[in-house]
Subunit: 147 residues, 4 copies
């Protein structure tokens, strides 16, 4: 059985908050409540310049994983590119295909929009995630620089 994935909805706010905070914590990062609320409001507003959100849900339709995806222009293609900025599955609900189903939903959406590239980044040492990614995508030879 494949995991069910759907778009994030307003009633998902408590579950989404738990997932997004778990994701931020995974990166040992800090994001203020204000910024998290702003992100939630922007996801709900649905403007073209902001991310869309998918959730993988369990049998009770409760989100157990999330994906935030930005479609943006590129100088290399007339189409948009699909950037998967955030992907997270509740650690207690793993190994049931939620991550894979979320990526597949992202691919489906990217195809529907005619995107010529879908991409994301992950920490070199995130072995658990990379085990999945190696099955679904190709590790590029690109490294990332940040100021």
């Amino acid at each position: 059985m494949s995991m069910r994935v759907r778009r994030l909805e307003a009633r998902d706010k408590p579950a989404w908050l738990g997932l997004f905070k778990g994701y931020i914590e995974f990166y040992k990062a800090t994001v203020s409540e204000d910024v998290i609320e702003t992100t939630w409001q922007r996801l709900m507003a649905g403007a073209a310049d902001f991310h869309i959100a998918f959730v993988a849900v369990d049998a009770e339709d409760t989100p157990i994983g999330l994906a935030h995806v930005l479609f943006h222009r590129s100088t290399w293609s007339p189409t948009q590119y699909c950037y998967l900025e955030d992907l997270f599955v509740d650690p207690a609900r793993r190994q049931k295909g939620a991550g894979r189903a979320l990526i597949e939903a992202v691919y489906t959406e990217a195809d529907a929009r005619g995107c010529t590239r879908t991409y994301w980044t992950t920490q070199e040492f995130n072995y658990r995630a990379r085990t999945l990614y190696d099955q679904m995508a190709t590790k590029s030879v690109f490294v990332q620089y940040r100021r």
Copy 2:
């Protein structure tokens, strides 16, 4: 003397074409004339969802290097992120600071817009570029996956 950098203008089209094609060739990639023309038109149109372009110019005000920069939303910050998608300097005009000046211009613009992150990617084995990048930014531990 620092290299002069300014925004790309309509009169730069021939020089820009030469630089952008040289850049594409560097990556052993192929981009059709149609797509290159679309990118030019979009750069000139100046829509908020498209890249802005900088050029490093010589004493005759002729572009010898380019930078294409996309400002986009993030789920992690109320501000925009600054993504330097393309950076290229004419191989015949290198070692005079054009690359560094272009990155500095990008930083200045990102600061003016309040961006909390400026980033780009490069091939792991692009040693010449990385020698410069190591001086101006931090190599992250992120690797990139692509479909």
Copy 3:
């Protein structure tokens, strides 16, 4: 309970053959029967210029994992360096500490010989192994070139 590790002995030949061949197969490599026999003979001969071998054994004293270790001179130290060339645990017997116990036995031997460095290499994408190695050693910034 920690896994028991001891030196390889002549009576271990059948088990060692199974493990070493499993290890070679893991790397999708081919090593001829002749070469494997030569390696066995050299391990048994115990010359100073060849590897020593450890095995992790189960309750019946049957080897379920192996480690081959070469002690060699360095130009950087008056002591020998300890090079762990091979490490393998039977896939059917994993998650019981055999890999960790083998590395600990290598460390103990290296300490007894006064080695100032113990090192090994692994494939960048061998995530299962690296999860253990990240706990027991430090990933260096060195990459390997081969002719």
Copy 4:
């Protein structure tokens, strides 16, 4: 004209000391005078378990670069492996082919001894060296762990 490379000789001691210390300094490492003297004595003694040394020499036969090479046993091959532990060229004498000539001399020696592998490591960010290595060898997918 190819750079001349020959084996290290006793009369090279002053030049060798300068090169080896420059090499150690390049790595921001510290090796005591005692250890350096021990390494020199061992190179001169010529025991089978220690490295052999090559030097690239200028027109006056003065060493301007060095290579220290260890031949050691492997469990994977009846032959010895050739490990290039140290390679260094005087920064003031670069870009004249000394590094390339030293590696070629190592390859020639490895071939004469029937080695089935010649290898070395370098820091991921040693771009100048890697530019040469990429032309003469293959970057493996192996990363190095150290205690």
